[in-house]
């Protein structure tokens, strides 16, 4: 509920009962005042001489008490009438006037109880109209009580319409007062929303001395702190990325030279150690690439572009062919004749596939085979890396993937391809909306499978 609506509702909920209560109280006071006026008028008419005359000759018709010449207040209701007709009664309620209305039993009982002292009045409802029964000073005789018909006929009417005026004024005043407050709050809200959508955080700094002004200044100060912290974070991230890039670059070149030298040495006979050194160099290169990619994941530095998966397969197999030769493992690949266009990051995709091929080669024996097969199926692609190495059971496959997805800190080169390499594959697959499974091969070994949509079918 908005502030304005709340204000209107509160004003109505509090104001209406208050106005009604005021009206009721006012009406009661007015009635009391009017009763006093009637009482005074009647008492003034029934002087001791008039009471004597009434007792000696009880009236047989209503007595007409003259009204004031200038009719004001309650007397206005009598219009042009010159007097008020009244009836007299004994204390027991009997009247010498045949037309006198019967007094209510509760009134008679109250009078006889002594609850209506001389000179006071009591309300009486007769035929739905409000009357006054006044106790005269002579408590005995035919003029002990006087019945006066008041102008208030019927039940009290509804409150007058002009009572709504203060209510309306209160509403208007409240809305006028709250409008500037609401506007300032909206300004602050818009500034925060714009920031959320990427605009710089720039909260208005209110000059007002009220609580809202204090709030806005506090928020503006916080925004400044957030901006500085955000800038710090970005700077640190940039510095880290630069460090990783520079380090990767600085290590990559000497590692390439090392690999080149090892490759030349490997051609000499009796160079088992050189072969091992080449494997280690390959591992270092892969680890370097995986670590760099891991850092890029943290920085959400993936690029989405169109790439032909065939090129990725050809490149990765080419890269690993030398190692396959050294290990005595035959590596083959098959790609469709047509393009296999997908959306993804070329570096991440190539690294993911390279990790799978690297695992397949390392966990195989001399004489073994690795096949990398890319196929189009329905509206998507399937990329399989199969080997005929020792393989894994279904439970081991699940465990390995779980460890890999948790980013297991052990960058183990040990069994079953656990560690950083597989975690990279799982993260790349997840970030690019691809499926990734490991499963035992139909005839043994292990099959790693990536599945995803072709670019034309991605919405």
């Amino acid at each position: 509920m908005t502030l304005r609506r709340r204000l209107v509702l509160t004003t109505l909920v509090a104001g209406v009962p208050a106005l009604v209560a005021l009206w009721v109280v006012g009406t009661s006071i007015r009635e009391g005042r009017d009763d006093d006026l009637f009482s005074a008028l009647v008492l003034a008419h029934f002087s001791p001489a008039a009471l004597d005359a009434c007792e000696s000759s009880p009236p047989s018709a209503p007595i007409d008490i003259p009204l004031p010449g200038l009719k004001r207040g309650v007397f206005e209701a009598f219009g042009d009438a010159s007097g008020i007709p009244v009836y007299t009664y004994r204390r027991d309620g009997r009247s010498s006037q045949p037309d006198a209305p019967a007094l209510p039993a509760d009134v008679i009982a109250a009078v006889q109880r002594g609850s209506v002292p001389a000179g006071t009045a009591i309300d009486a409802r007769i035929a739905g109209n409000r009357h006054l029964v006044l106790a005269l000073p002579r408590q005995e005789g035919p003029c002990a009580l006087v019945l006066v018909a008041t102008p208030r006929m019927g039940p009290p009417g509804p409150p007058p319409a002009d009572l709504l005026l203060p209510l309306a004024l209160a509403l208007v005043a409240g809305l006028a007062g709250i409008w500037p407050v609401v506007r300032r709050i909206r300004r602050m809200t818009l500034a925060v929303r714009r920031w959320d959508q990427g605009a710089p955080l720039d909260l208005p700094r209110e000059a007002g001395r009220d609580e809202l002004g204090e709030l806005s200044r506090a928020l503006a100060d916080s925004a400044g702190t957030i901006r500085r912290q955000h800038a710090d974070l970005i700077a640190r991230e940039e510095a880290l990325r630069e460090f990783i890039e520079n380090t990767t670059h600085d290590i990559a070149i000497p590692l390439t030279v090392l690999q080149g030298n090892l490759s030349a040495l490997a051609r000499e006979p009796g160079t088992d150690e050189v072969g091992q050194a080449m494997n280690e160099a390959q591992y270092i290169g892969a680890l370097l690439a995986n670590l760099a990619l891991s850092a890029k994941f943290q920085a959400a530095a993936q690029v989405e572009t169109s790439l032909d998966l065939r090129d990725v397969v050809l490149r990765v197999v080419q890269r690993n062919r030398a190692m396959a030769l050294r290990l005595g493992v035959q590596i083959e690949r098959s790609v469709p004749e047509d393009r296999v266009p997908v959306r993804g990051d070329p570096t991440f995709t190539e690294r993911a596939l390279s990790n799978l091929v690297d695992n397949a080669l390392r966990h195989n024996a001399s004489g073994g085979h690795v096949a990398v097969v890319l196929e189009i199926e329905d509206d998507g692609f399937v990329l399989r890396v199969a080997d005929d190495g020792p393989g894994l059971t279904e439970q081991e496959c699940l465990r390995v993937l779980q460890r890999g997805e948790r980013g297991d800190a052990a960058r183990s080169r040990g069994s079953a391809g656990s560690g950083l390499g597989l975690s990279i594959v799982a993260r790349v697959a997840q970030s690019q909306g691809w499926g990734f499974v490991l499963k035992p091969g139909e005839t043994g070994g292990l099959v790693a499978e990536l599945r995803g949509p072709l670019e034309a079918t991605v919405s």
């Binding site: 890039e245 670059h249 990559a252 030279v257 690999q259 690439a289 062919r321 690949r333 098959s334 469709p336």
Partner: protein, 237 residues
């Protein structure tokens, strides 16, 4: 002696087939790449700094291997200038694991990229791939090994003598010949060559391949490629 041999070979190749231009600032790496290229039969010129390539240079250059991070003119600028004046293949070397660089390089016209560290064999393979002008021969007649396959007439001959092949065997041979040297998946062969109404299974495929091998004999070699399918060897391999 070795240096004289290399120089002589270089001059010979340069006259015959042009040179590879290597632009790489690292001394050790540059020297190594030049040696590997020479060994693989690709004479190379080596620039240690980035500079613009003059129009007169293009005459002999058949491939450019370009490092991106260079002193002097940066690699991307050289690439941009190259593409304005020439369509010589460009293979980019980069030590940065950054897709932005790769995407930008390809957008500027690079044909391929190699990320450091790399093995020399990988680089040579890429160079060969760029320099090789492999054209899928889709003409009516195809020669693979000792086989001459006439697609239009659906005939296969070995040294002039016709081979008696069934329809399926001929279709199988044509499918393998179309991608000679490349492994063709079994699933693809089952789906695209065998008759689906006649129990097209991998087992049936194996039987057909077995019969085809017997008929082809020594004229050509149909290899089984583990995990994939079959490959018809090209003559040169």
């Amino acid at each position: 002696m070795f240096v004289r041999k290399v120089r002589a070979r270089f001059e010979c190749y340069k006259r015959l087939m042009g040179v590879v231009l290597l632009i790489e600032d690292d001394e050790a790496l540059g020297r190594q790449i030049v040696a590997h290229l020479a060994e693989a039969g690709f004479p190379a010129i080596w620039w240690r700094r980035g500079r613009t390539i003059a129009a007169s240079d293009y005459r002999d250059i058949v491939l450019v291997i370009l490092d991106l991070m260079l002193p002097g003119v940066p690699g991307f600028d050289i690439l941009q200038q190259l593409r304005k004046d020439s369509d010589v293949p460009v293979l980019v070397l980069s030590a940065r694991q950054d897709s932005h660089d790769k995407v930008r390089a390809l957008q500027l016209g690079a044909d391929d990229y190699v990320t450091k560290p790399f093995w020399p064999e990988e680089l040579i393979e890429r160079v060969r791939a760029r320099l090789r002008r492999f054209v899928m021969d889709r003409t009516s007649q195809v020669t693979v090994g000792g086989l001459v396959i006439d697609r239009a007439r659906r005939e296969v001959t070995v040294e002039g003598a016709g081979l008696d092949l069934t329809r399926v065997e001929l279709d199988l041979l044509l499918a393998l010949a179309d991608r000679a040297g490349e492994p063709v998946p079994r699933r693809w062969l089952v789906a695209n060559v065998l008759d689906p109404e006649r129990e097209a299974t991998e087992r049936t495929l194996d039987v057909h391949v077995c019969r085809l091998r017997k008929k082809v004999g020594e004229a050509a070699r149909i290899e089984t490629v583990w995990g994939i399918g079959y490959r018809l060897r090209k003559e040169a391999e």
